[in-house]
């Protein structure tokens, strides 16, 4: 047990050493900057009424935008970290030094750090915009926590897919295209009936959004923002999604481990 832990620690340390000069943190930070600019533009025209539900609005808008930005961000991050192994032909050397399953896990963890940085950054951005635009809605910690959890969990499932694709592809165009396609699929899935929406993993950012609009109650011509509300977090659904995500990860890892170098 002690040996396993020590080997895992060394493998993680080596993974961090590999990332020197790679500046991967620019990827989540760049996407976060674009996202911040995107959501902050309409906020300049906020009325006093809008400011009373400012955080709800931000959670809602950011959940929609996440469907576009997060798959792309994850595709670029995974590709940037896996490509160094593919280009440098390193797998056949690494597998003589560490187990291929451990390599797969550690690489995933290294990528997941940037996802967590992004999710945490989003929470900070929402708080920061709240302060900058003087949102009058009181800060409730629970939706912030739920938002962080939802983005991280959905992102982790998407990342596991990108992770496998990037490690299995000699050319990183394929995983990048898959990320881009996922972005559009996630966005358009919101216009599909809920049953279809549930089948598309890229669309889960909106499914786990902490705020939403009950479209059935919005009269024609009315401002839909007036019908925005915090939603109960679907905990059983979230746990089921996370469990399926873990199984999916193990399945993907199995595919990778069968690959001979």
């Amino acid at each position: 047990m002690k040996t396993t832990w020590s080997q895992t620690r060394l493998a993680y340390k080596a993974e961090i050493q590999k990332q020197r000069c790679r500046k991967v943190w620019i990827v989540p930070l760049g996407f976060l900057t674009v996202l911040t600019l995107w959501v902050s533009v309409p906020m300049f025209h906020f009325t006093a009424q809008d400011l009373t539900r400012g955080y709800q609005w931000l959670f809602y808008q950011i959940s929609l935008l996440n469907a576009i930005f997060v798959p792309m961000m994850l595709a670029v991050t995974a590709s940037r970290l896996c490509d160094m192994e593919i280009k440098g032909n390193t797998l056949k050397l690494l597998y003589t030094l560490e187990k291929n399953g451990r390599f797969y896990d550690i690489k995933f963890l290294a990528e997941a750090r940037y996802l967590l940085l992004f999710s945490f950054g989003e929470v900070l951005v929402i708080l920061l915009l709240g302060k900058l635009f003087h949102i009058t809605e009181p800060v409730r910690l629970l939706p912030f926590g739920e938002h962080f959890l939802a983005v991280s969990a959905v992102g982790a499932v998407l990342l596991s897919f990108q992770h496998l694709l990037s490690l299995m592809s000699d050319n990183q165009i394929l995983p990048l295209c898959a990320g881009l396609a996922g972005s559009f699929l996630g966005l358009f899935s919101m216009y599909f009936p809920r049953a279809v929406n549930l089948c598309i993993v890229w669309g889960y950012f909106s499914i786990f959004s902490v705020s939403g609009i009950n479209w059935g109650q919005v009269p024609e011509g009315a401002d839909y923002n007036d019908y925005m509300q915090y939603l109960d977090f679907p905990l059983p659904g979230f746990l089921l999604f996370s469990a399926v995500g873990i199984l999916l990860y193990l399945f993907e890892k199995g595919i990778f481990m069968r690959k001979e170098v």
């Binding site: 080596a14 020197r20 160094m84 797998l91 056949k92 597998y95």
Partner: protein, 306 residues
Amino acid sequence: MEHIITTQALTKDYGSKPVVRDLTLKVPPGSIYGFLGPNGAGKSTTMKMLLGLVKPTAGSIFILGKPVLEENRLELLKNTGSLIESPAYYGHLSARENLQIICTLKNVPETGIDSVLRIVRLEKQQDKKVKHFSLGMKQRLGLAAALLGHPRLLLLDEPTNGLDPAGIQEMRELICSLPGKYGMTILVSSHLLSEIDQMATHVGIIEKGALIFQGSLESLHRHSRARIRLRTTDNGRAFRVLKNAQFPVAADKDGHGLFLHSTEDSRVLQCGRLLAEQEIGVLRLEEMQMSLEEIFLKLTEKQASL
């Protein structure tokens, strides 16, 4: 321990296609074992199986006297350095940073980096990004990585592939110096006979996945027995006369002469006398040595186990 590496009936099939068949390797300690065979003969697959990168279909592998199993593979490989096919490297990092990663994964102190850089003569380029290295420098870096932690066994798969003549010479000298200086055993594969001839102490020849020769380089050279080539006024009759007199004789393939598989003076003298008695004139008499190249071709053509 009699052998550093032993394999027993090692076999690898891809689908119905056999790539390695019943391979029984025996690599003596302290040797440079040249693993020779044409392209596609199964050398790389064998080396990958030794390192656990490819699962054998059948057979067993013993390294340093212990059976290689999934549970102890990495433990055994701690005493092994490898360079398989093209060199492995992180192009965005310097040579030193690349070696630091290997040190971390091998759990050996970074103090060894200076020494291996010196061995492969990369001390001056250690801070240069590896993506700017030539192929020869990348190969040397690969060798440096393999040498970290002072392994007892080195597995080098075609280490001179793609190198220019100077690079080949340099790599060869480096490999030859390692067993003497550091007590290592080296298994080096190549498809070039001349290369193995200049480096190895022992040879294994593989063809179509099967080992067709294994032994010391000396014993391979012994196969290159000298023989006498004869040209006479009537080669056909000369062949019959010598054959009837129990001489070890064979007809030349091109029909312009015959071979006497003996260089003993007394036999040559008897042969000359016999032909003279039969009034067959001897036009040419030359001693010929079979080159290693010819032995190799003969072995690989025959595909028969010696």
